[in-house]
């Protein structure tokens, strides 16, 4: 990092997700700040649509955009692709895998979450998570390749395993994935195969608790279950995974489910960077509970935001791990820094930390799509389901996608896929360019 300029504060943002990007965009053009945004990847990812890449409806570039492209017009923001390996919050510097040292006056840690396998390496090895584009492409590749292998298979038992998709975790990701896979296989691929009967493909959604979509109301969970059933998804609630083997899930009640595609959507945990801040972690998921202003206790210049935060907001409401919450946190930190800059040299300068506002989450609601044309929405007192909810879902997702071309491409992609039941991204790309077996 360059040497400190007088009067200019160096802000280091770790993570280009919703929180980090919003913070950088809010500080963009404010010459009192020199912002460095570091991310392990080169792109901002619109995570809510990741399942559509996994289910072959969208292409990876439809839902991702180069971070430096988004911030190209922000001369005071430097974007670097690097992986932070150490943070010294007291000495105010971080270190990247590239060997680069990042000095800062303020730090925003917004590195997000990753799939949690509850510390079990076996589970991780035999299942597919869904947090990155590479994850989504791996799911697409596995499911489509399994169908190709099933078309060639001569062993009936193996063919059945190849034609079973197990999805562990009945939250929005699991529900959206299972609905989209059921649509893909039972509708779009119906006429594509000559030997296998795609109507026999099983999509099994597994949830440990009593109902899917626990964050929604009970009647919405029941609605989702009914919709999924009518799409041909088997919904297994109250089923707890005991062991994961290659191609097999063992449940605590002795049930065995054999499936060549096992998708793990049962939990997330904070990126392990949270452990480097020297503050106690709030839960086994490695999350951090900051102070009300999002700074850390005893470290007023270090902030956290996004999915790695576990907190209640100024109204004592728990803040969920969703994109709008992350965006709002990122903006909160940026505005707070700007206000503190304004106080510099005034009689309030010494009290600046006390004057900081607490973060207040504006709840825009939660939503989950269930196959084609149906969704559930819970926003404030309003509950929607069915087609109106689906339109709300469509509108909101399109509106929040970054980049006009992306919005149009995604909208058109959906329009064609929905009108013709024909997702167009059904291609298998083998990363090594190698053969299919």
């Amino acid at each position: 990092m360059t040497a400190k300029k007088p009067g200019v504060s160096r802000v280091l943002i770790i993570g280009g997700g919703f929180a980090g990007l919003e913070c950088a965009r809010t500080l963009s053009g404010d010459s009192r700040f020199e912002v460095t945004l570091v991310d392990r990847t080169n792109h901002h990812l619109f995570q809510p649509l990741l399942y559509q890449v996994a289910t072959a409806s969208l292409a990876a570039p439809d839902i991702a955009r180069s971070i430096r492209q988004i911030l190209a017009g922000s001369p005071n923001v430097t974007v670097l692709m690097d992986e932070i390996t150490a943070i010294d919050p007291a000495a105010k510097h971080a270190t990247g895998k590239s060997g680069t040292r990042y000095d800062f006056d303020y730090l925003l840690l917004a590195a997000g979450a990753r799939t949690s396998f509850f510390g079990k390496a076996e589970w991780e090895r035999h299942t597919l998570g869904l947090k990155s584009l590479a994850d989504a492409q791996a799911i697409r590749r596995t499911v489509l390749s399994n169908l190709e292998k099933a078309e060639l298979a001569t062993d009936e038992a193996e063919r059945t395993r190849l034609m079973t998709i197990a999805i562990v975790g009945g939250g929005p990701t699991g529900v959206e994935l299972s609905g989209a896979f059921a649509d893909l296989v039972h509708r779009s691929l119906r006429t594509n195969f000559r030997r296998i009967d795609t109507s026999k493909l099983r999509v099994v959604l597994i949830e440990g608790s009593a109902r899917v979509l626990e964050a929604f109301d009970e009647d919405q969970s029941e609605y989702a279950r009914q919709r999924l059933k009518s799409l041909g998804v088997e919904v297994w609630t109250g089923m707890r995974v005991d062991e994961v083997r290659e191609g097999a899930l063992h449940f605590t009640d002795g049930t065995l489910l054999e499936a060549r595609a096992i998708i793990w959507a049962a939990g997330v945990e904070a990126q392990p960077l949270t452990a480097m801040l020297g503050v106690p972690l709030a839960d086994r998921g490695g999350r951090i509970t900051p102070q009300g202003d999002l700074s850390l206790p005893g470290l007023p210049d270090v902030f956290v935001a996004g999915d790695l935060v576990r907190m209640k907001d100024a109204d004592d409401k728990p803040v969920p791990g969703v994109a709008p919450a992350a965006t709002q946190m990122g903006r909160h930190v940026a505005k707070l820094l700007q206000e503190e800059k304004r106080l510099e040299g005034t009689r309030f300068a010494d009290r600046k930390h006390e004057l900081r506002p607490r973060f207040r989450y504006f709840d825009k609601g939660i939503m989950a799509i269930i196959g084609k044309n149906f969704a559930v929405v819970k926003a404030g007192g309003m509950k929607l389901r069915g087609l109106p909810a689906w339109f709300a879902w469509l509108f909101i997702h399109i509106a929040f996608l970054i980049g006009f071309r992306n919005r149009l491409a995604v909208l058109l992609g959906w329009a064609f896929a929905y009108l013709r039941d024909n997702p167009q991204a059904r291609i298998i790309v083998h990363p090594q360019g190698g053969p299919p077996h």
Copy 2:
């Protein structure tokens, strides 16, 4: 493969490129034929636009489409993803890596070409070919990652290496790649970096002979060279590669070019399946020269088509390795089989082999795009260059893309990219989901 039905001929097509697909589409719905199309991948690839995926203008699904999706409405065609490992043309069967045995009455080998490294493993290890989607994504990943590393680099020499793209081979692929990379870096990425000066990025196009685009006329080669120069591409003609090392090209005249991205577009060779047919190969590239009707000498029921063919047509003109030639060959074989079916039981049945028409190539011309807005076209007596050529190129490529959604998506993608100098697929996906270093 299922048992032979009386009166129905089993046609095995190896390869779902332009030749194989066209043959299958022509036989589609003709119940006298039971067609099996086997490909190593699950998609038909529009190869002429592959360089646009490599240069971040298009997404992979924009230029590829599931083969079984294209042939979904053809009940007499079975599509299988498998890699053929053995062919016995006399006994009339082939074997796949899956263990499947494919019996046939007629065989069409249309497995296409792959990058030729002239048998040098070192060259293959240190350079990037461009024949598959995975290849294109690897090129995109490498070039974009190198720029990210350059932005972090502290060593000036390494930064220079990271900011050099060497493209070996001055044919259409090399010309199109180098023009598109120059556009990408010098225009689109101009404002994206804070530390490196993207105007200093070198794109070096290397050709062993005296001019680029040798298949075109000399004035067109000269025009291409001038256009490339004005885009900032260094065109090195008459330069022969002697040795390839990691990050370095050594030339026969002693010149050394250091580059962290070396793209190999210097030659292609037939897929090695051609060696299994028991006929002499026509060249070191493993190609086969069939008889005039595209069948093999002594094997009247075995045909070859597409890029693995080296031949002169009925007019004694050499048939080039381009998509229209492959398509025409595929159709020729299908029509010939249909005609032969018609002769069955007639007094011409015994003479059916003599009655076969020879393949005649209808030359639609060749074209190459040079950066934004310029192209050269050579079609019959007509020569175009500049903007009119570019429009011709655009029209033809869009018209031949399979699938309406794809056409529209590609057209829109281009429109936005060209209007705003902003290719939207600038994302790096790490296949293993790992960190960037």
